[in-house]
Point group: C2
Chain length 425, copies 2
Amino acid sequence: MGARAGIVVTGTEVLTGRVTDRNGPWLAEELRRLGVDVGSVVVVGDRPEDLRAALAFLAASTDLVITSGGLGPTADDLTAEVVGDFCGRPSSVDEELAARIGAVVARLMSRRGWRVDPAATEAGTRKQARVPAGAVVLEPVGTAPGLVVPPASGDGPPVVVLPGPPSELQGMWPAALEAAPVRVVLERAQELRQDTLRLWGTPESELAATLRRVDDQLGGLEITTCLRDGELEIVTRYAPGAAGAYARLVDAVRGDYAATLFSEGPEVDALVAGALADRGLTVATAESCTGGQLVARLIDRPGASAWVPGGVVSYANSAKEQLLGVRADTLATVGAVSPEVARQLADGARDRFGADVGIGVTGIAGPGGGSPDKPVGTVHLCAVGPDGAVTRSLVVPGDRAAFRKRTVTVGMHLLRALLLGGPPA
Amino acid sequence: MGARAGIVVTGTEVLTGRVTDRNGPWLAEELRRLGVDVGSVVVVGDRPEDLRAALAFLAASTDLVITSGGLGPTADDLTAEVVGDFCGRPSSVDEELAARIGAVVARLMSRRGWRVDPAATEAGTRKQARVPAGAVVLEPVGTAPGLVVPPASGDGPPVVVLPGPPSELQGMWPAALEAAPVRVVLERAQELRQDTLRLWGTPESELAATLRRVDDQLGGLEITTCLRDGELEIVTRYAPGAAGAYARLVDAVRGDYAATLFSEGPEVDALVAGALADRGLTVATAESCTGGQLVARLIDRPGASAWVPGGVVSYANSAKEQLLGVRADTLATVGAVSPEVARQLADGARDRFGADVGIGVTGIAGPGGGSPDKPVGTVHLCAVGPDGAVTRSLVVPGDRAAFRKRTVTVGMHLLRALLLGGPPA
């Protein structure tokens, strides 16, 4: 029968996009690993009536509801109180919890060197220590405690109340899973696998034809496809009993897309990092239009200092010349946005950082700077390694942000093709 | 009486966080500008029953429902069909629309140099051209048309169906606003202002005390506060009639937080870019632990090439020496993670790029590399300009990603303090 959960993410800052929610996806993935299916994530602002409506919506169709956010010391942080009311359990201050929170706050404030108004702190602390009657308290990781609130009536799902900062939410998660009302739900969970195939250079409409052709062999698979920055992802969820159907899907994709299937699991970032680590190679970057996003993406992975000595962002032509050795006559004759300069950037990065691999990117991110010959979106990339070079020139559609993101992904595929072969970048 | 809208974002890739949703926040902000209040955004996967439940939830309490995503050519893209059924309007293929989509697809494929299987393309095209009876078709910006579907019964909100790619959704938005069923809703909209105060170095609990003290003067304001990377944002929404109350809030915050109030509107990024542009100054970066995220953030703004000649990411000590002139004896005596090296990085960036301002960042992002003297999270920053230098040393809590994000924000405040004064970084 399985178990289903719903997630409520609270906070006007999330609803309006000032803060990008990381908690909904993180919780959805953790729950999937535990075999709990998540059908929807509801994002609400700080108005109690919207939170109440979201709780009622999710409680009607799930075995477990999880909230994130709204546990701070300010008056707009209302989650604990609203959830308590929703579950029929009025809240009151837990004095011992208030003392523990007070000690944490005092320590944090002194570490940051912030002045503290004791009365203000106490009011906030006592607000954070309000606990619905009969709820399980999850000890604070930051200053806010979490809660597991079972319904007073015995009818409906328990609600797990977690703080908004991702590090606090993730730190509190193991304790939430240990709470008795949650354990009861997890006992009903059933394993749900998730596997991903990744294509580089196949349009979604073509893949759709393959899926239609083998549709009758794919019973029990929940397949979603997503085209993102030129990569086509095929993500499949299935119970262990449908493993045979998944193997048939993999066979069909291998057969139809041998030329573009670059991964049966890992993302391109992991493939590149793995290839560099396995072969003991280093990579340095020289970027113009991507403005540091390529080197930042390479460095995102822990341990990257072992294979990324660094990179140069050279917007100005003088910087291209002086820091990377791009030739003035090349800049004068073919211009900064050219395959020749991409190659010289790659060579320069390799040379200046003493790296095994260099990658150069030059293009026009827009909105300004385009011309009839070189429209906005024009970009040239080159990666040079011990065994040769690979290049790519293209015109990327979309706005400045989309251009930079897509171009960085093309750069990752250039490195993948250079190091591992497979579909050309 | 006002108007309320609800938003449904579809796609398992969004639900699971493989793709970060940009559409929900964008739509929420656009609707707010139009005076339409958005109480919640529901994210659902690709299962039709979850989408139907979300539509029913939002239709019960709003005047307008907007969906994004699920309009592609693959079988998991079901939004148009599900919305049509929900509104009581069965779908069929619009032949003229299918022909227009087919032409667009053919053009796109040939531009990308992708091989095309005509049968596969046609099946996808005909799927994308299915239109619920009586719906308004919004012409494709990419390949997918949008829809405005009024309820067949005349009871309930119209549903606006938009594609998932943000550039397509945003490109189609003006046409959606022109559709008659949407115009009727917009006529009921009422202006809703939003203003933001920003503090640097005030804890949320202290601000809570101020808000409690003046609470009785703030009628009609919807205030939310959010602490993010050390910045405390106070975002207030209010109808024009509550402008006096908002002025009283501003007065109270100015009075209590003169030392930390750094902006009554613009983000720190805009303040820094504005100061550089106004004074005709340029800035170059030298980053270690932030790995290019600082220069990437500076370059995020269109036109940044006028004030950012570039930056160096120097993970390796040899790169710090050779590319930025950091002294080997400094590295040997005090180590790479030190205030001295931060200063030399800033000087080196300024010198090598011929920039007016240089900023250097050196620290330990983790998870490895820490020591008792210099724990993970230790970071030193220095910004040097024509009028002097500002520095900051701190230990940033949190994981690698949080460290880098927070450190980049500290770097932005270092530039702000150097260029504009105000709260110290």
